[in-house]
Amino acid sequence: MESAAELSLVEELGDIVGNLTTSGDPSLNNDLMKKLKAICKKSDVYVKHAYHLVLTQLKKKHAEIRLSSFQIINELFLRSHTFREMLLIDFQIFLELTVETDCKQPLPPPKPVAKILKDKVLEAIDIWNRKFGPHYKKLDLGYSYLKRVKNVEFNARSAQTQQSQERERRKRNIVNGQIIRVENEMAEMISEMKLCATEIENCFKLLLPHPDDYEVHCGDEHACTSSKFKQVTNKDVTKSRDVAEVAEVPCENQAIESEMDSKITDTNQENIGKVDDNEKLLSDHGLATRSYQLTIRFDRTGPEIKETVDNSIVLNTVQEFHKELTHKHLPMINKWLSVLSKGEGMQRKIEQLIDLKRTLEAAKTKFLELKIRPLVDDARTVSTQGKADSGSDDEDDDSEEFEDVPEKEGMQLVIPPSERAEYGLEPLSTSHQSPAESSSQVITKESSFLEQFGADPQELGDPTSRATALFQVKDQLLNTDSSSVPNENTKAITDEKRQKLLAQAPVVPFDMDLYFWGDPSAETHKVVKTYLDNNWASKEHEGEYLIGDQKDARSSRMVTFAGSFEPVKWSCRAPLPSGKLCPRRDRVKCPFHGKIVPRDETGSPVSTAGVVPDPVSAPDGSSTSTNDEQNSDSSATDWKEIQLEVEAATGLDLGGKNKRKRRSHSKTSGKKESKSSGLTDLKKGQKTARNRLEKIVLNKKAMKRVADQMDAIATKRCKDKFANQFNYSLH
């Protein structure tokens, strides 16, 4: 009975091990593993069988199979004594197969998996040794062998963690130091900041009293409002925005108006003669009706403060505080917050700081909302007062009345028409003037023009006088202007255009083409050829000649314009086998990784959604073909499944039986199929740049062609050298 059970279980065991090892997954299937353990638990016979199965799998030259096998071994090793003993008998082989102790037997590809395998095995051996080392001599020996002879760093991992801990600790120390410094600073500065906040608040109160304050001072409403009115109007404050802060003032104002309105309506109502008792009562109290319609208009523009002599000091202080807030306190608080947020247990302090920051920011926004309109004169005086602290009163006066104008160089009187407006001159419009008009007005105009520039019109006849000079200049101006500048407006547009074009235009050095620019009649250089040394000179050889194609060359010039160099802002960033990203900075296409596509930080291409994967965007040009194959494959399999179902349902033969037969055949050799499913195919040519180039460079045809070429060259050289020698020519 046992043997029968054994047989089935053994078969199952083989299936499980085969499936587990050929899955190609980096981790084992939990369910299968549980089954395996359950079988192995029954008897040591199964453990032994499993051991042999796994070992045969381990010997296969595929890193993924080995990795999976090792994982099974690890599971069983930790559980079964029999398994441990069996493995330790073959421990050398195990080490050779998993951690390449024998340099003649390197781990099989794929390489990354092999690396993982090695790391994991070493880790596991470390654990095994700690757990079983004292009891299994050979394990201990193997461990020490690896450690001493193969120089495996078992403690590398722990050392790494230690290092990271150390780093963490140092970081924490630094942060703590920063926090302490910040706390010290805070102790100094917070009171100052609070003071600043309260002061600025007080200043606001002075500038813009809170509506609540109005009621406190006075019982008599009318008196109060009137006085407040005065106050408010004095300061030219119009309140608005905040409903809570709805100023009593305009409200009162409106109320009075509405009262007036209502009275009018009341009188109307009385005229109609329908007066209610209640309304009477109301009217007794001075109110006409209940259905008032109060419309309160708020000024949406925000509070505006006109600076006056009275409040200028307050405003100045507010401005100063604002400056201090924005440039000193707030950045400081931000800095503190960023430091404190790194530390732990700083919640309270952070809250405190945030509160402070909020108050300060509120003050700041309040200040910004206030529209302080400096009175022009006042502002001037204020500003000059500010300046005058160092200077004398005389200077003040000067600076008040005159503005500094930078001196013009060269001929000032010739004002280009485009800049006339700047000089405060009326635009020239002489071209549009009728001659009669101009003749009548010419003299007066001239005189006024001359006066404008401070010249005496009487001196006009004197050629040495300023007036004549001015006049000449003006004449000149008029001539040029009438031809070139028809209109100020179009001029502005063309100017703009010109600026644009100028910005683009390349600057070339002055040359002959510019010298003859736009001059069609420009003479070309002619050379008289004389053949003095030639006795038989014919007629045609004499005469004038142009040098080459000078005529064309004169008017045109070659300018190499390559545009400006734009540095490439992106790199290829395809993942390299070393784990880094490709640092090549190519504009369009990396010679190793194909067209440059956007990639995430791990280097895998970010597929832009909705974009059909075109062949160019794929990282490798050749990978698309495989994609297509896969697609077609998957569709084919889909169709096969559907076909099977349809056939089963209808009982019809839809063809394709051949394929099915092959499939069923392959199912019998199930291992093969499963192997092809999970594992990475080693035989598939790796798509490296080297392979790609190899295909082209080491192509048979190309090689042959090159060889032929070389042969031809060699024989030619031989012929050239030795062909005329008798003994060589025989060969």
């Binding site: 089954k35 638990k41 004594h81 080490l95 004292p134 050979k138 020490s144 062998y145 002879v149």
Partner: protein, 364 residues
Amino acid sequence: MEQVHKSGINCVDIDTSEGKYLLSSTSNGGIAIHDIEECFYHDTFKCKAVATVERTLKDSHKLSVETVQWYPNDTGMFLSSSVDTTLRVWDTNTLEVVENFKLEGMVYHHQMPKNARKHCLVATACEDSRVYLCDLKSGSAIHILKGHSRAVVSVSWSPRNEYLLATGGRDNKVLLWDVRKAVGSILSLDQHNGKGGSRSSTINTAHNGHVNGISFSPGGLHLLTYGTDDRLRLWDTFTGKNTLVNFGRVHNPSRKAVKLCLSTGTSKEVAFVPSGSNIEVYEVVTGKHVATLGGHYNNVNCCTFHRHFQAIFSGANDTNVLVWLPEMNRTGDLIAEPTETGTSAANKVKNPYQDSWSGDEEET
């Protein structure tokens, strides 16, 4: 055993007089002496190193020390031969070289007869195909045995006849010499016993590969040779005939001299043959494979048998010297089954071997 060696162990030897000290040599020129007697009486098997000779010493070998051997009569002297072409005689107490023989080529192996009374010759297997006999009395190495055509790898003196010497070389030959006869070897062993065809009548080969291990049986009746053709052969020393005992294939990846040993004083003579990283145990007479001792992680270079404790000591390229003790409950026939190591060992404790199937399997 205190871990002193940093590189592969080439040779180990136990002194024949007391059986107390173990001599070991390494491939980086070091020599160490361990006290092994104490350990057998303790629970934990840990040998103390008595003395070490580092390569940096003035006297010591600068290259790999291939062979070390105690002076057969006492522990006051030992001999070492090295790749640096020298054979040195050491004073154990002062750890100084008292005699230095310079030879023509690398010395692969040397041996001193264990029970020679009439002479004091050390046979050295030299790279240049000659066997030099170094006379300790005169301090000269003038006696040369010519006969091999290629390097000599292994030598062995007969324990029965003090003038009988067997040498094996890279020319696949095993030659028997009478050292008193200067002309040539007395016999070349033939693996086919003269029936190997026409060619073998002129050139008798003992193996189809290098002969890198050679050892007389304790009684001197038989000679065991070990070749790189993965074969062990047993020869009758009187007739020089191959006894044709079939040991099967014994994998022999080593290309240097390998020191194999035969047990003495046991009910059945067994041979311990280093084979790769294992030591194979064979019955000498029948050729039956008895056991495989696996514990090393690299090629085993040498093993030596301890008469008193019936233990074998083995040295390998993985820098370990392992001690193999016989399983005591099977008295009578000596099979060194349980493994005990020289490096940092604890005696085997049998308790932790219960299976530890965790609870989660029960549910499945």
